[in-house]
């Protein structure tokens, strides 16, 4: 359908409050991000004060201020906005509700439409910010602190979950192992950094469920094996080999992700593989999946690093086509914490 709506430029104000960070973004209909603010990354000067750690999970204080800052930075006013997008699931219900209630109130008072976005689809659409023409069919690996899912997209509304974690998410495995190693939070970036100085073959940690035709993931047994390994070594040994252990840990997690993804891509003859979510920032995952993808003739896409973690720009990006299709939510829209990727 070619209509005026499709060719007309428009701007979407987007909110993402599914977990720890509050994020507000404004995105143009051509996927150009005008502004993308994330509470944990916003400097004190931008904010006119300190972002309190405790309140960050409640979002209430952040969302109004961030919206004002976003409009100011973009030199726009509410009148310049054509629609309001918000992530409605999955996530922490109380946190999601803040975003949904705020978005609905704003939409009602401004007389603008509101667009509901699945958070996981948002992660996938983060890829379109840098590659606006990227469209299914593709195989998507969505990996973050809360999710590990392999999804086969025929189209954006016709997809099948091929595999998912049976216990811990990949990002959570990074976090928990980092804690076991005494390296701090968030574990992913810290282990990524230290692993560069270590030998990934130093110790072979188990890769779970590496059987043919099983595309589920599991990181719980791996976590226990790291715990048992560390318990068998003295502290001096661990400190001397911290980079080697970090490299071996990272290798095990990345191997599991890449093995399953490439195996299914090969089986289904996928031409495009996209990686999304916080763990898609991991440097080894990027290099390994690119390398293995090349071998099977698949093109690999990642979001720009700044759009890997939870952010509102990706929610706005996922709302663009919905706007063009007049796919608006009514004001009875509610948040729901139900897991996984789904059509709204």
């Amino acid at each position: 359908m070619i209509s005026n709506e499709k060719t007309k430029q428009f701007k979407i104000l987007a909110f993402e409050t599914s977990c720890d960070d509050t994020s507000v973004a404004i995105i143009n209909s051509d996927f150009k991000v005008i502004v993308n603010l994330i509470s944990s990354q916003t400097t004190h000067e931008d904010f006119g004060g300190v972002v309190p750690e405790l309140a960050s999970r409640l979002h209430l204080k952040n969302i109004m201020q961030l919206t004002q800052v976003a409009l100011t930075n973009a030199e726009l006013s509410f009148e310049d906005i054509d629609a309001i997008a918000v992530s409605v699931n999955p996530g922490l219900i109380g946190a999601l509700l803040v975003g949904v209630s705020f978005a609905k109130s704003l939409a009602y008072s401004l007389g603008k439409p509101v667009i509901a976005v699945n958070h996981m689809l948002g992660h996938i659409y983060a890829n379109r910010i840098n590659n606006p023409h990227l469209r299914p069919p593709y195989l998507a690996l969505v990996v973050s602190g809360g999710h590990t899912e392999l999804v086969d997209f025929k189209s954006i509304v016709d997809f099948k979950i091929i595999g998912r974690t049976r216990d811990d998410a990949a990002g959570e495995a990074f976090d928990k192992v980092s804690k076991l190693l005494g390296l701090g939070y968030p574990g992913g970036p810290i282990i990524d950094k230290i692993a560069r100085y270590g030998n990934p073959k130093f110790h072979q940690f188990p890769r779970a469920l590496n059987k043919k035709d099983n595309y589920d993931f599991s990181f719980s047994g791996f976590k226990t094996s790291v715990r048992n390994y560390l318990a068998s070594k003295n502290n001096k040994f661990i400190q001397e080999h911290i980079a080697d252990i970090a490299a071996s840990v990272q290798r095990a997690i990345v191997d599991s992700l890449v093995f399953k993804t490439i195996a299914f891509a090969k089986k289904s003859d996928a031409k495009i593989i996209i990686v999304a979510g916080g763990v898609s920032a991991n440097s080894l995952l990027r290099s390994e999946i690119s390398k293995k993808g090349k071998v099977i003739g698949a093109n690999i896409f990642f979001p720009a690093l700044e759009y890997c973690m939870d952010n509102a720009a990706m929610i706005g990006a996922a709302a663009i086509e919905k706007y063009q299709n007049n796919d608006f939510a009514d004001l009875s829209l509610n948040a729901f914490s139900k897991k996984g990727i789904r059509i709204l």
Binding site: C19, L92, D168, K223, A231
Partner: protein, 136 residues
């Protein structure tokens, strides 16, 4: 009442979950203590299965809480990432107990906010095995 049992294998954990499940009802709260890797999440997965949950039960560490439908609403919480008791209040813990079976991993931070009838289960490593201590 206090009970101890040694879990030598995943099957032992499954048996433990199978025995506990029929004793639980709406309003019950389970607090699961234990270091990383002691099997709290695996136990929860099995328990949920015996409580009639059909979907995959995965770790709620990141989202803090997952909700399932089994014989009644079952809420699986993980307070691992919380730093202060105030955050537990923000989560609305007090409002959650009545209409569900609540399973809480890493409950230490909610000390004092658990109802009196809470069943406390402690997981620990004993050599190659795991020991659970149940206090109710």
């Amino acid at each position: 009442m206090q009970e101890e049992r040694i879990l030598k294998s995943e099957d032992d954990t499954i048996t433990f979950a199978k025995e506990l499940a029929p004793k639980l009802k709406e309003g019950d709260v389970l607090a699961l203590y234990g270091e990383l890797g002691t099997g709290k999440t695996f136990f929860t997965q099995q328990l949920c299965k015996f409580l009639g949950v059909r979907e995959n039960v995965s770790s709620p560490s990141y989202v803090l809480m997952n909700e399932y439908m089994g014989i009644c609403i079952i809420r699986h919480l993980d307070l691992y990432r919380l730093d202060a008791a105030e955050e537990v209040l923000e989560l609305g813990l007090y409002d959650l107990y009545n209409d569900a079976i609540t399973i809480i991993e890493w409950p230490e931070i909610a000390d004092g906010m658990l109802p009196e009838n809470t069943i406390h289960i402690y997981f620990e490593f004993i050599n190659q095995n795991r020991k659970v201590t149940i206090k109710m």
